[in-house]
Symmetry: C2
Subunit: 228 residues, 2 copies
DNA sequence: AATCACATATTTATATGATAAATGAAATGA
DNA sequence: TCATTTCATTTATCATATAAATATGTGATT
């Protein structure tokens, strides 16, 4: 739980909005009413409204009130927003779209990592690889290790936009893993696969790195398609 | 100019932060000092701080004050943040990274558009194509037409994450176009190229659509690489 | 000397009341 | 009919007071 009132309210309202409790295009309750309903001061309410505006979910203007923005304006790349959606309205369709993004990004990131990774970053990936091999059988532990490996590759790409996605991918996968109750496409149980990826990056073999990541993601797509 | 004080302050502080006026990891002036410096009330200041927090630029805690977050936490996919960076610290390096993202996203979007576009969306793309052919010689007008064409493809992908990127790509390209003073890689002057893209999407020829977009982007990469 | 508990000071967090500004809608007048 | 003005509603802004969180320092205890 977030500690302060503003953040609590931000999360509550954020989830409610993406859930559809306040339909798109309609007015939300006015400031005063929100204060009453959630029993917080105007300060807290206004600050929460501002945070949600900053994330693109709502806009507020005098007289017109607080209105829910069309979905195209929502900052889906904001981890909060994405998690709210995945939690409130989990859908395989969204997971499919998310996987398409991973499909676009991750092979390219692996390619760039092979081209640009610093010696330290290579060591970090190797360390992540070690964590995978040492991971207990417990799902949590394995998931952590695999996400760490993936994140290290994104970081090693040296591209700030990809690096920024670490939180995004991390957050989304943690939620979606609960939903599908599957690790396939995220954590290939065969660690030799990750060794191959690591070697390709270490050797600067961009095309191989790209192809390998592409391959593991294909599993994820097949998995989701089969359930749609 | 944004109309209200909170937003003005948000933009001022946001630009100042990405510019490096408040170095990463350091404390920003306290709430009270910011009020004095910018001559606004605490409400406005606090609301601006909340908006910047929501965008990942800063965090604030009692006693510790307001601190600038590491760059990895900044929401680069937030159009505001991206534009602030491009305006305050324009760099070819960032443009290169941005282009790498386009490289990852746009061919995939074209592929998905070929697979999923609705009849109406195909019409929209055709309409965008018409605008390109009709565009005056003026750079502004051409740029608008080309960005519109691109946006229509992203929308037609049917993937919410790609659709969300329209604003992101739009904003970034408008700024970068001023910086490089080049349209290459954004608007291929030869309209027959766009006709090919359109036809591929209309005919559901996913691979061709993907390859064509890949091709036009290659120009952009070559252009930027040559100037780095 | 080291460590733990506690007091203290600083900063943000929250609450509240008052006034200003923006804006959509209704009333007015030519 | 249309432009203008008035009015009511809602957010925006300001000001002030109090609470809560927390880093730092202090002193007692071992």
């Amino acid at each position: 739980m977030s500690k302060n009132l503003t953040q609590q309210l931000t999360h509550k309202l954020g989830e409610a909005i993406v859930k559809g409790d306040y339909p798109i295009g309609t007015r939300m309750p006015s400031e005063a009413v929100l204060c009453e309903q959630f029993e917080v001061s105007r300060s807290a309410t206004r600050e929460a409204v501002k945070m949600l505006s900053a994330k693109g979910l709502i806009s507020s203007r005098p007289k017109q009130g607080i209105t829910v923005n069309p979905e195209t304006l929502w900052n889906l790349y904001d981890s909060d927003v994405l998690v709210w959606i995945l939690k409130s309205k989990p859908s395989l369709q969204l997971l499919k779209e998310f996987t398409e993004v991973r499909f676009a990004i991750e092979p390219m990131a692996a390619k760039l990592a092979a081209e640009n990774a610093t010696p330290q970053q290579i060591k970090d990936i190797e360390q992540a690889l070690y964590r995978i091999s040492e991971a207990e059988e417990g799902l949590e532990d394995q998931l952590d290790a695999h996400l760490n490996f993936l994140n290290m590759i994104l970081v090693a790409s040296g591209n700030r936009f990809f690096i920024q996605l670490t939180q995004f991918v991390d957050a989304a996968l943690r939620v979606s893993i609960r939903y599908t109750n599957q690790v396939k496409g995220i954590s290939n149980t065969d660690v030799t696969f990750h060794v191959k990826v690591f070697n390709a990056i270490k050797d600067g073999d961009a095309n191989t790195a790209q192809a390998l990541i592409y391959e593991v993601l294909s599993d994820a797509v097949v998995l989701i398609e089969s359930r749609l």
